[in-house]
């Protein structure tokens, strides 16, 4: 495997299993990241608390819990409060991306589909 312990820890919360699996593969083989996937929004917070990631990629539209709910749970807890969140969304219009300045509810976001190079840029920019 390409996984190298010691890289930046990324948690991706998204119900699309194929997507999270490929993101994990693509990020980890750069050698820069250690990725954990979580396909259930409801577990997003607890997984984050246990994994202590350096950044969370969070799908906005999850079937069992809205991404914004997960984000507020994270914000309410001392342990996860300062973890940067990057939202992932499929339903935002280009015009809205332009108008929002790339920020939803104070968090940056990425519109799906995204090229891995672009994703890495955003991750590196937002990682603490």
């Amino acid at each position: 495997m390409w996984e190298k312990k010691g890289g930046k820890k990324i948690l991706i919360v998204d119900d699309e299993e194929d997507f999270t699996k490929l993101i994990k593969l693509n990020l980890e083989r750069t050698g820069k990241y250690e990725v954990k996937t979580e396909n259930q929004g409801a577990f997003g917070f607890t997984t984050a608390k246990a994994f202590k990631p350096d950044l969370i990629l969070l799908d906005i539209l999850l079937p069992d819990a809205e991404g914004s709910e997960v984000a507020s749970q994270l914000k309410d807890d001392e342990a996860t409060r300062n973890i940067p969140i990057v939202f992932l969304t499929a339903i935002i219009a280009k015009q809205e991306v332009k108008e929002s300045g790339g920020v939803i509810g104070g968090h940056p976001f990425i519109s799906k589909p995204v090229d891995i190079k672009q994703l890495i840029e955003v991750i590196d920019k937002n990682i603490s």
Binding site: E16, D18, F19, L22, I23, L25, N26, R29, L61, A90, I91, I92, A93, K94, Q95, E96, E99, S111, K112, P113, V114, D115, I116, K117
Partner: protein, 405 residues
């Protein structure tokens, strides 16, 4: 209110007799008289008579000529012709010309005159009432049709809004997976495999293509809020034109700019209006594959004619008498058939399937113009070209467009 009658009769004795008969009636007639056709016509057009009683044969002219003149000028007053006995041919002619009735000067004249006049006045009233009702029905029908159209339109939009988000979610997630899969394969395929690398690029381009359609769809379904400011329409037109100028030149299309100076500022969202104009320009380009001409006009006008969206009702976008700024964009292209013209503002309607048009440009355009409380129309003649007309609201204040130095 007395009933006003005009009596046109050149024979003074006959006039006097008729007057006396009428004055005996319980109807309370007020009789005015004219001695010849000219005087009669003048009085008919100047006064609101309830009925006209006219001798057939007058000096120079006949009652038929008076009737014809009234018809020409669309003057409708109950008109009764007095004819001599035995002249039934005349009676038929005048009835054909629209006389309400005729009466023969005979022994029964005394008794029937009052009845005939009352009858024609009643008929006139009934006719007017019927016309009034018909007009009301017609108006109600037009309103109903317009409301129905608006309802269908807004239902369509709301359905499209929901559909758009659903489609975006369901299509973009698989696209995102495919994209990540391609990203994964990119690194697996050695740079020496040129063909495979090219295929990967092709696949990524096609993801972008599908994503672009989703984007347009989403933009369409949420035209969003407008940032309305007083704007110089001529400058918005010029900016939009500059953005497509290179393309126009390449396609051998001449631009004729007939923008009017000193037209009032419009209340508009600059970016959104640019989007609308650019879209219309690009449609024009596609309608002129062999080159041609785009004529762009701007002017201001006081609206006088009632038509779709211009009227007196509160929900009309424009009121009759209102000043508006009008933009016309005309091309010399292939034109649009009457059948297609009705649908060009419909979402997803396109004739440019081979060019990858999503069929949303003009319907987005119409959304934007409607959000401006403006109007957009299209006229077209196949083989000659198409003209898009946009009406916009004038901004408050007295700023006007100035020629650039």
């Amino acid at each position: 209110m007395p009933i006003r009658i005009l009596l046109i009769e050149d024979n003074q004795d006959h006039a006097e007799i008729t007057k006396r008969i009428l004055q005996k009636s319980d109807a309370g007639y007020q009789v005015d008289s004219a001695m010849d056709a000219q005087e009669g016509l003048k009085k008919i057009f100047e006064n609101p008579y309830d009925a006209v009683l006219c001798d057939y044969r007058l000096p120079g002219l006949t009652a038929l000529d008076i009737l014809k003149e009234m018809n020409n000028k669309k003057k409708d007053t109950p008109f009764v012709v007095v004819t001599a006995l035995g002249n039934e041919k005349v009676a038929v002619d005048i009835m054909k010309e629209g006389a309400y009735d005729y009466i023969v000067k005979d022994v029964l004249y005394n008794d029937t005159l009052d009845i005939v006049i009352k009858k024609v006045i009643d008929r006139y009233k009934a006719k007017k009432e019927k016309e009034g009702l018909e007009e009301e029905i017609r108006k109600a029908y037009v309103e109903l049709r317009e409301t129905q159209d608006q309802l269908i339109q807004s239902e369509k939009l709301s359905a499209i809004g929901q559909l758009a988000s659903g489609v975006a979610h369901e299509v973009r997630n698989p696209l995102a997976i495919i994209m990540q899969g391609l990203n994964y394969l990119e690194d697996k395929i050695p740079a020496t495999e040129r063909e495979a690398s090219e295929i990967l690029i092709m696949l990524k381009d096609n993801i972008k293509r599908a994503d672009k359609i989703i984007n347009t769809l989403l933009d369409f379904s949420r035209a969003g809020s407008l940032n309305l400011q007083p704007e110089d329409i001529n400058s918005i037109l010029e900016i939009s034109l500059n953005l497509v100028r290179a393309r126009l030149k390449f396609e051998n299309i001449d631009v004729i700019l007939e923008t009017k100076e000193d037209i009032p500022f419009v209340l508009g969202d600059k970016n959104k209006l640019e989007q609308v104009f650019i879209n219309i320009f690009l449609n024009a380009v596609q309608a002129m594959p062999k080159g041609g001409r785009i004529i762009i006009r701007s002017f201001d006008k006081k609206l006088e004619e009632i038509k779709n969206g211009i009227g007196k009702r509160a929900d009309d976008h424009f009121q009759v008498g209102e000043k508006t700024v009008i933009v016309e964009i005309e091309d010399t292209g292939i034109g649009i058939t009457e059948k297609n013209l009705k649908r060009i503002f419909d979402p997803f309607f396109t004739t440019k399937t081979t060019m990858g048009g999503a069929g949303l440009g003009l319907s987005v355009g119409r959304n934007i113009i409607h959000m401006h409380k403006g109007l957009i129309f299209a006229e077209s003649k196949p083989g000659e070209g198409t003209k898009i007309t946009i009406l916009l609201k004038v901004a408050k204040g007295d700023r006007v467009s100035k020629k650039k130095e």
